[in-house]
């Protein structure tokens, strides 16, 4: 496999992009700011695998209007453990079960009654935020789609521009070499141009430009920005994360616990694909690979996209949990990518830049009570906020050991 877009980065463009990106993502993620709603949305992510609200039947029935059809107490019981209701001989439950080709809905013991009721309210509101809180978020409900479209375009544009850049650079480099040769040839053999300082200037300029190209290319060696390998299964994040709105952490469930975000085990795929056996784009072919893998006991060999060198220690839990970064901030708009592409260059400068501007949750996390001097400075008003760099974010052995 060849690395696509093996090009260097232009810091100015990228920084501009980064600012726009931060701005856009802040717009995006300022939306679910109500705790109850955010939690409900997370909880509903499990349901989304098989249900839509007004989007037609998937594995399970469309949930639109379901709240009017059944009373709440029954729904709570059904959502928590449908199989128990069916076994108990509840006629309504048996009817639903038979209508849906006798595919049982998995039980949800992790949800308490309160949470289930919230989900019901969420369904009642057509998958929008809870009734009492609609007013607050109404203005912005339409923005996400628009923003996402712009965002994706920006990505593609940038990637193309970068590739264009690279082509230009190679051409420039070759032209410069040719120019040097021509001048030297003329200087020594043909001697058409009489003024020697012209040769000197051309050679010097060519050397400078060629050197610059080499420098820029050399710094990007070993980096894989815009790396987009083919995967063994044509798996689309756009479908799963974008259209079906499955949370990143549903599949990458160790991101907040471990250094590795974790590639989901096949068994997680089967949570849904036990029932979903046909995809809209790829039909049965790609999904069958999951079943093959599981049945043959052979794990899927995904190609790792985001690679850090061995001498770098990166911990997802630290950044997701403590740094409270969103996945998108490093991985880009994955929900718009069919095949994942590495958006950032993952260079040390990129890491450090972020450490320099990111504020630490200094007041809220009790761990930082250790830093008495910094707390005193804040109290005195001499410091407004604590950045990662203030507590050692630039130290070598925070990442290299």
């Amino acid at each position: 496999m060849i690395i696509k877009g093996f090009v260097s980065r232009n810091p100015w463009k990228l920084q501009g992009f980064f600012v726009i990106f931060l701005f856009l993502s802040s717009l995006l993620f300022s939306l679910p700011s109500f705790s109850q709603t955010a939690e409900t949305e997370t909880n509903f992510a499990i349901c989304k695998a098989c249900h839509t609200i007004g989007g037609g039947k998937l594995v399970g029935p469309d949930l639109k209007g379901v709240t009017e059809k059944y009373d709440e107490a029954w729904l709570v019981k059904f959502i928590q453990n449908s199989q128990a209701l069916i076994d108990a001989g509840d006629p309504a439950a048996i009817k639903v079960w038979e209508e849906n080709s006798k595919i049982p809905m998995p039980p949800n013991p992790q949800l308490n009654e309160e949470q289930v009721k919230d989900i019901i309210l969420y369904i009642k509101n057509d998958g929008k935020i809870a009734a009492s809180e609609i007013a607050a978020g109404e203005d912005e409900t339409k923005t996400p789609d628009e923003v996402q479209v712009e965002e994706t375009d920006a990505h593609k544009l940038l990637a193309e521009m970068k590739q264009e850049d690279a082509r230009h650079m190679k051409t420039t480099f070759i032209v410069m070499i040719i120019l040097i040769f021509i001048s030297l040839f003329d200087l020594i053999v043909t001697k058409i141009v009489k003024w020697r300082w012209i040769h000197t200037i051309i050679i010097l300029i060519s050397l400078t430009i060629g050197g610059e190209v080499i420098f820029v290319e050399a710094t990007s060696l070993g980096r894989q920005q815009y790396y987009q390998p083919d995967q063994p299964i044509w798996f689309s994040h756009k479908v799963h994360s974008g259209q079906n709105q499955i949370e990143c952490e549903y599949c990458h469930f160790t991101a907040d616990k471990s250094m590795h975000a974790g590639i989901p085990p096949v068994q997680v795929c089967l949570n849904c694909h036990n029932q979903v056996k046909e995809g809209k784009i790829t039909g049965t072919e790609e999904i069958a690979k999951i079943h093959d893998s599981y049945n043959n006991g052979k794990p899927i060999e995904w190609v790792k996209v985001h690679n850090l060198p061995d001498h770098v220690y990166f911990n997802h839990a630290q950044h997701v949990n403590i740094g409270q970064l969103e996945c998108e901030e490093c991985h880009g708009m994955v929900e718009e990518m069919d095949q994942v592409i590495q958006v950032e260059d993952l260079s040390m400068r990129w890491c450090i830049d972020c450490h320099r501007i990111t504020e630490v949750q200094f007041a809220s996390n009790r761990f930082y009570d250790h830093y008495k001097q910094l707390h005193a400075l804040i109290e005195k008003g001499e410091k407004s906020s604590v950045k990662v760099v203030d507590i050692g974010g630039e130290d070598c052995q925070k990442c290299h050991y």
Binding site: M1, I2, I3, L221, G222, Q224, Y227, P229, T254, K257, S258, M259, H260, G262, I263, P264, P265, V266, Q267, V268, S293, Y294, G297, P299, I300, E301, W302, V303, K304, N307, P309, D310, H311, Y313, N315, A317, Q318, N321, I322, N365, R366, F367, Y368, D369, H370, Y371, K372, Q373, L374, I391, G392, D395, C396, Q397, K398, H400, Y401
Partner: protein
């Protein structure tokens, strides 16, 4: 005159030369032996030039055609709930190898064990470990392990083995042909039950236990005195005075981890404590225990019983007991006797000699001192070491007469380590049906028809009862890597039972549940708690000790002629079970600092008189050639040699290292003893054998390194011995600004009073930080890679010196001299006080190494990983599995050093952040401090006023190494205090 400290005899001689100036000039130069000519002169030839040229062109070609490798991310099919990639799991388990016992926690990453730590919940080992326990994880990934069971040296499957075995067992039982099941001491109650069942089903099979180094005299003595053939449990923690005769209880004797814990609990002067226990050591070689003794006396092995008898007589005189006839000896026992009498019931006398006469006197002394029930407990015997020589002698004889038709050998290697191995092997050849249960094809297994490959202890289920009433659980931490099956499962299979051993064990415990708790309702809860804690400890009501019956005591007449030989187990490889473990082979011996070999330790005076020099070769008994180390403290008329070397079927690292001295064991009487044989020593003129000692590596040029005092002086003035600290503190001026840390400043304190120098920390560090093994030749070139070392100093009389041990690793100086000489700022300071090393920035100028006054930095002269020139563990796929994934493997050409286990600090910080709390003192531990069995190494936050390190730093005993340099190390030392008069 000021006390002189010296690291080696060469240095001692230099120190005693007339002028200091002369001494300086005549320092031994850096040895260039073993280096290539061109390496010495720094020349390069035409070939070198071509090599360089080719290399450069190759590099350019490689870089220009650069394509990044494709890296795969392969998830599990089913991810078990408790397995999160990147997060370690710890399982409580038990280390028991047939000799040593230790309760451990096994750290696993992605389901493979990578590190052993002590289990704090154990009431026996209290979270301590030994170097062997630390290194045992590497044995799991040993290339020498057998991958399949074997039938007549051909690999086969278990079905064949089972079919053949059951047929043969039936046949032998029917014909009434006698067979022997020969095992190591088994301390597992379930396994004992299983073996009982096995021998009941096949009554023609007799079960015999065997120990390479026997302790049977202790059992016999107790049988005579108390009517029970047991080893009592020892409570060194309750003893104010310990008198030990050749018992290296801090090193190898019986339960060294437990005894080190107990002993060192009374070697602490922190928190206002002003009491120390006192240790008298009478010994025939320089042992680790002797090195830590307050009073040490060198005796010949033949003298021991007479010395003990004199001690007995002194005590008997004072207590009105009956005295016995004795002989005059060279050493004094009056002081020890007086101390013992003053501490009746709070003292302990032990002997490590496997001699009935001696053990009887020891028992009698302890009885006179009323120690039974106090420091010795016969009601809770130690179950280790149950082998009896008489059994072994009998079966060897029977084997040789052809009476034995079957032999099953488990967990032992008598063809190598039996004193009369020749007779054993010849007997074995007469046994038609031989089966070995072994992990490797060792000397014994290679003589067997069948080899049933067993699991490593990290792959096995088991239980253990090391001391009566204390139980310990062994659980697998990884699936068997190869096609192996544990010994117990084989027996179960051949019994025709349909269970596996874990179920068998569970059933056994279910039946025994009423002995462990009153409420027998919920077995699952009990079982899970046992698995979780790893230990169960029952406190019995104090029961009466058995009655003492007098026995006749007698003492042997000390001999004066010839050399008496003392064999000993090294701290590293023991009796030879670990001879293929490269970590342990390269571990410097705490006394001689030698790696990779065994040798003859000869007394200083004898060497002087006979012109013997270091590395000279001598012939022992006219046949065995061994190199010489002139050992300070080796008693006159004795020589000592380490056991465990000279193996022929150990594996790639251990084969042919050193010489096997088991045949030199004293096995004339009914008790096999490591000491007492008389040997002849004869110099082979003109022959030298190079030894790899780390001794002269790190010479600190006679500055005030180790500071020491005695207890009376310390009581008078807590700063005694440490006066220099006050002077240096006063005189220190600096151009540098003092760094003021905010929040966290990591620091360490090392209490030299507690430290015994057992080198457990060295191996713990090696396991944690992926430190490579470099081999003997490289060690000789002073390139050993250990991030920490134990410096050993002697002082005073070379014939009976005081010994000092001092662990030294990077001290993380605030004004670090290494930092300002690095041209690329690869080493610099963190905001938490760490002197950090960025390997990827390092260009290998080694200026930092030159400028480090402690010489703790190490240079990677070669690529030690994936390099077949270093054929140890880092060049094989299996051996590399032990590497800690949180720590990078350093490449060639960079400098490395102790990072204070920064990966562990970061891990605990993250955990505290995730739990939204501050760090608790003691929560963050480096590998060395975690595993230290004496608690000498303490680690913590110097910014936390209540932390142990801050409290220790307030002690008057606190000083910094070379503090006159004012480089402000974050690690400080506490002076060594010996409990000596004057």
């Amino acid at each position: 005159m000021e006390k002189q400290y010296w690291q080696s005899l060469e240095e001692y001689k230099e120190l005693n030369k007339p002028t200091v100036l002369e001494h300086k000039e005549s320092q031994p130069e850096f040895s260039i032996e073993g280096l290539d000519e061109s390496e010495i002169k720094g020349q390069s030839s035409r070939r070198d030039f071509l090599k360089m040229l080719g290399f450069s062109v190759g590099t350019v070609a490689l870089v220009s055609s650069c394509q990044m490798p494709i890296r795969k991310a392969i998830p599990l099919l089913n991810q078990p709930e408790e397995l999160i990639p990147g997060v370690p799991n710890y399982y409580a388990s038990t280390f028991y190898d047939g000799n040593d016992y230790c309760s451990v926690l096994v750290k696993t990453r992605e389901n493979r064990p990578i590190k052993i730590e002590g289990n704090d919940m154990s009431k026996i080992t209290h979270g301590g470990t030994s170097a062997r326990v630390q290194a045992s994880v590497l044995n799991l990934y040993d290339d020498a392990r057998l991958k399949d069971p074997r039938k007549r040296e051909v690999e086969t499957d278990w079905k064949t083995i089972d079919r053949d075995m059951m047929m043969k067992l039936e046949d032998m039982a029917k014909a009434g042909q006698k067979a022997i099941l020969l095992t190591s001491t088994i301390i597992s109650p379930s396994t004992r039950e299983l073996i009982k069942e096995f021998t009941a089903t096949y009554p023609n099979i007799e079960w015999v236990q065997y120990d390479a180094v026997s302790y049977s005299a202790i059992r016999k003595a107790n049988e005579l005195h108390f009517g029970q053939a047991i080893i009592p449990s020892y409570h060194f923690c309750k003893a104010n005075v310990v008198v030990s005769f050749n018992a290296d209880f801090l090193g190898n004797w019986l339960m060294p981890v437990a005894f080190t814990k107990q002993f060192s609990s009374n070697r602490k002067l922190t928190n206002g404590n002003k009491k120390l226990n006192r240790l008298y050591q009478y010994e025939s070689r320089m042992s680790l225990t002797g090195a830590n003794a307050d009073y040490r006396y060198g005796i010949r092995p033949s003298e021991e019983s007479a010395v003990l008898m004199n001690l007995y007589n002194e005590i008997a005189k004072a207590t009105g007991g009956q005295t016995n006839g004795s002989h005059t000896t060279t050493v004094d026992v009056k002081q020890a006797a007086n101390d013992l009498l003053a501490n009746k019931g709070k003292s302990l006398v032990v002997s490590g000699t496997n001699n009935l006469q001696i053990q009887l006197i020891v028992n009698a002394i302890n009885h006179l001192l009323e120690n039974y029930g106090e420091t010795l407990d016969l009601t809770r015997p130690i179950n280790l070491k149950q082998g009896k020589e008489a059994d072994m002698q009998r079966i060897v004889k029977e084997m040789n007469t052809g009476n034995i038709h079957g032999l099953f050998v488990y967990n032992i290697n008598p063809a190598y380590d039996y004193a009369d191995a020749g007779a054993f092997v010849s007997g074995m050849l007469k046994v038609p049906f031989k089966v070995a249960f072994s992990e490797t094809c060792d000397e014994t297994a290679s003589l067997c028809n069948f080899v049933c490959t067993t699991n490593n202890y990290l792959e096995s289920w088991d239980d253990a009862e090391p001391i009566q009433g204390s139980f310990s659980f062994t659980q697998p931490t990884v699936r068997p890597i190869f096609n192996t099956r544990q010994f117990q499962d084989s027996l179960i299979k051949w019994l025709g039972l349909k269970v596996d051993y874990s179920t068998y064990m569970e059933e056994y415990w279910k039946a025994m549940l009423d002995q462990h708790q009153e409420d027998t309702g919920d077995f699952t809860a009990f079982w899970n708690k046992f698995k979780h804690d790893g230990v169960i400890h029952h406190d019995f009501d104090k029961t009466d000790q058995p009655k003492f019956t007098n026995q006749n005591l007698s003492a042997q007449k000390p001999s004066k002629n010839g050399f008496e030989l003392v064999l000993y187990e090294k701290m590293s490889i023991g009796t030879g079970k670990y001879t293929n473990n490269p970590w342990l082979l390269e571990m410097p011996d705490p006394i001689t600092t030698a790696t990779w070999d065994n040798y003859v330790c000869v007394p200083v005076r004898y060497a002087d008189e006979n012109g013997l020099e270091h590395e000279d070769v001598v012939k022992v008994n006219g046949e065995m050639e061994l190199p010489v180390i002139i050992q300070a403290g080796q008693p006159e008329g004795t020589v000592s040699i380490a056991l465990g070397y000279g193996r022929t079927a150990a594996g790639k690292a251990g084969n042919g290292v050193g010489k096997n001295v088991f045949p030199l064991m004293n096995f004339k009487g009914g008790y096999y003893d490591v000491a007492g044989n008389t040997v002849t020593i004869e110099k082979v003129s003109g022959k030298k054998y190079p030894l790899a000692l780390t001794q002269m590596h790190h010479n600190m040029e006679g500055r005030s390194i180790v500071r020491e005092t005695t207890l009376p002086k310390y009581k008078e003035n807590p700063s005694s011995g440490n006066e220099q600290h006050l002077i240096d503190d006063k005189n220190n001026v600096t151009l540098y600004q003092k760094i003021d840390y905010d929040g966290i400043h990591w620091g360490m304190t090392i209490d030299l009073t507690s430290c015994t120098g057992c080198a457990n920390c060295v191996i713990a560090c090696q396991a944690e930080n992926n430190v490579p093994v470099i081999g003997k030749d490289q060690v000789r070139k002073r390139r050993i890679m250990h991030w920490m070392r134990i410096d050993r100093y002697f002082s005073a009389d070379p014939e009976n010196p005081d010994v000092y041990h001092m662990p030294v690793m990077c001290l993380h100086c605030d004004n670090a001299p290494c930092e300002n000489v690095c041209p690329v700022a690869a080493t610099n300071h963190s905001n938490e006080g760490l002197n950090q090393m960025a390997y990827n920035r390092c260009i290998g100028t080694r200026y930092c190494i030159n400028n480090c006054p402690y010489k703790v930095r190490r240079f990677n002269w070669y690529e030690f990983v994936n390099n077949n020139k270093f054929d140890y563990n880092m060049n094989s796929e299996l051996g590399k599995m032990v590497l800690n994934p949180d720590v990078i493997v350093r490449q060639r050409g960079v400098v490395e050093k102790c990072s204070l286990c920064v990966q562990r600090l970061q891990e605990k910080k993250l955990q505290a952040k995730m739990e939204n709390r501050e760090l608790v003192d003691g929560e963050v531990q480096t590998a060395c401090s975690q595993s230290c069995p004496t608690g000498a190494i303490q680690f913590g936050n110097l910014k936390d006023e209540n932390s142990v390190v801050v409290q220790n730093n307030k002690e008057e005993r606190m000083y910094h190494l070379l503090e006159h340099l004012h480089i402000l190390p974050s690690t400080s030392y506490l002076t060594k205090v010996r409990n000596k008069e004057a």
